[in-house]
Symmetry: C2
Subunit: 368 residues, 2 copies
DNA sequence: ATCTCGTAAAAAAACGTTTTACACCTTCAG
DNA sequence: CTGAAGGTGTAAAACGTTTTTTTACGAGAT
């Protein structure tokens, strides 16, 4: 059916080895024969069959991308950046959705290794250290994105999550918020841990008291976000909420709406990750923006750095991408404590307000 | 390195052909040998190398998915449904983003055919009829989704776009809107054409006069949506906007916000496609919902129906999925004409209001 | 003039499967 | 008793490449 290297060889009057050498430049071929071969290729419209090549080289020209959550647009943007690189290098991209499930992740890793993909780009689940081990063990190139796995000797690209969370929390503090609820995404992954750390650091540096009751756990889905937000809004006197995850932010919005709580009048809200909708809704959502596309693009670059230079394996690199706070309308100064719209009477829990420190007031002057 | 069929054969004391026959059930093997082979496979943890199989069978066990817009969450959901099927059948999924660019689409088609993917699932660009021709010509299974290509003898899965658009428009008419703007997505694809048709049918059936000035063209991106909406809002007296595309809906929201136009007080808005954010924003967005996940899932089912039964090729099937109108808060009765918030004085353009027909009033009673 | 060396091309092996062709045995009908 | 048919196994070919090995040949050195 399709035209093979044999046909080209016959047409050019040379051996198939010569054709292969011309195509791959693997050995020198005389100008005369090279010309003949190139002409034959052009005339027949020959395209090398990747399957034959894959079998012989033990490698399909394919890259695997493992992402944990298809509904999160952040990962869609990461995938976009990866795809751009993959296309540039003429590889194919197999994208899989692990759904935050380590078992599924392990399954994909195994099956893709068996398929001899050239490399992996993975935003790992909480058990990434175990599930990705076979990749490292078989010395298949791997780039970890979004969630760092400490000590793993591979390329890693991630955001300055702590810094972003710090900025967001600081922003709320400067506005005058004293009780800032935290919506925590799936635990056990570095990005969320780092965001918690940034939150705590901002709280502590400003002289506020850290109240663990203000930290509501969830699982990076809308439902969990809604539940966690309701928990916060019903049981504490939080005047602001910082959501550490895209999906949970949606959940928080849902809760606010359901409970009839006005944002930012009653409660301020900051999300993590910018989205198309974040800027067009009312109120516009204040968010910590990540460089999602760049994350994918860089991860791709790091991967192909390994794939193309087969000689010396480069030292693993770790890249931290800047995060920025985008201030919109969902954050504002808190109302008087007595006006807080909460199901419970918050009287007893507000004593910490008295603990304002000199540090804090200085920061307010800075913030404007 | 890895264990091959040869190792299994040696261990079991049989030929590799026998091993192959056991694995694929291609020929009967005596119970005794089959037992030996199975044991050897288990002991060695043998996994067939897909590359060898692919070369011999002339088919990589891989499916290609071509989608036009990665940022549109509708397609993300379609991809999700497809992936579910693909995983179920043990295939791999190569996902590509054509970005509505026929050239890129043609490139992907060619390169994926060369890779011997087992089949395609494609939401085609406007030139799909041409770019997908090589797939049909080479008799590679193809399922077209979301956008019908008339007369193409392949499986097709799409939404009842006309019906959905009709419902949305009718909903606005029943609320009392007389001048309903239409934000048109990329032209040349069936889904948008069908939505326009549904809009026009609703307008005409209700006895209103169709005004082409109310139909604003765009290109299914946020920017175009915003521009088209601004055009409508500035130059006409539309009291409602129906957006035929997810992305353009976001653009419309942006314009509304930018111009300080209140929704639904000043202008009602209906979008096409439901999203996670649509229900949690304020006001909640009235939308026409498609069964996106199901679309992908069904497309996968149709594809594998062809891939598994190699014998008689089944007749091409066309499946139309139901669309539903989800009424939220972004649609309400129009204010008095004189209060419409528009840059232009709309006085002269409102004469059509007098044309109310008996049909229309009956419909209002039905609608409640 | 013979030997070595280097270069360029061809031939053949290899990758890991599936499938075809063939060999052997048993059974059964004529 | 013989020939055909059917069942069960193996050897070998095939898929389309890349890579290793072999061959051919001319130039330069001994």
């Amino acid at each position: 059916m399709a035209v093979t290297i044999k046909d080209v060889a016959k047409r050019a009057g040379v051996s198939i080895a010569t054709v292969s050498n011309v195509i791959n430049g693997s050995r020198h071929v005389s100008a005369e024969l090279e010309e003949k071969v190139r002409r034959a290729i052009a005339e027949l419209g020959y395209q090398p069959n990747p399957l034959g090549r894959a079998l012989r080289k033990g490698e399909a020209y394919t890259v695997a991308l493992l992402l944990p959550d298809r509904s999160n647009s952040f990962f869609a943007q990461v995938a976009w950046g990866v795809e751009e690189q993959v296309r540039r290098y003429g590889y194919a991209l197999i994208t899989c959705n692990t759904d935050e499930d380590p078992e599924l992740e392990a399954f994909y890793v195994s099956s893709l290794l068996n398929r001899r993909v050239a490399g992996f780009i993975v935003a790992p689940t909480s058990l990434g250290r175990e599930t990705l081990a076979p990749i490292v063990h078989q010395r298949v190139p791997l780039v970890v994105v979004d969630r760092v796995i400490d000590g793993l000797p591979v390329d890693q690209v991630f955001s300055d999550n702590e810094g972003g969370a710090y900025l967001a929390t600081q922003h709320l503090i400067r506005l005058g918020h004293r009780r800032i609820g935290l919506l925590v995404g799936i635990s056990g992954i570095s990005s969320i841990q780092d965001r918690i750390r940034g939150y705590k650091r901002a709280i502590e540096e400003s002289g506020l008291t850290l109240d663990e009751r203000l930290i509501a756990p969830g699982c990076s889905q809308i439902e969990e976000g809604a539940a966690a937000a309701e928990y916060l809004l019903a049981r504490s006197d939080a005047t602001a909420i910082f959501s550490t995850n895209n999906m949970m932010t949606l959940g928080a919005l849902r809760s606010l709406k359901k409970l009839g709580i006005k944002c930012p009048d009653d409660v301020s809200l900051v999300g993590f990750d910018d989205s198309e909708w974040a800027s067009v809704i009312t109120p516009g959502l204040t968010v910590v923006a990540q460089q999602a596309y760049e994350m994918g693009f860089l991860a791709g670059a790091l991967l192909f750095r390994r794939l193309t230079r087969k000689q010396e394996a480069p030292k693993p690199r770790t890249i931290k991408l800047r995060t920025t706070l985008i201030t919109r309308e969902s954050t504002a100064k808190p109302r008087k404590v007595s006006e807080v719209a909460s199901g419970e009477a918050p009287a007893g829990q507000t004593t910490e307000l008295g603990l304002a420190s000199p540090v804090k007031s200085r920061r307010f002057r800075e913030g404007g």
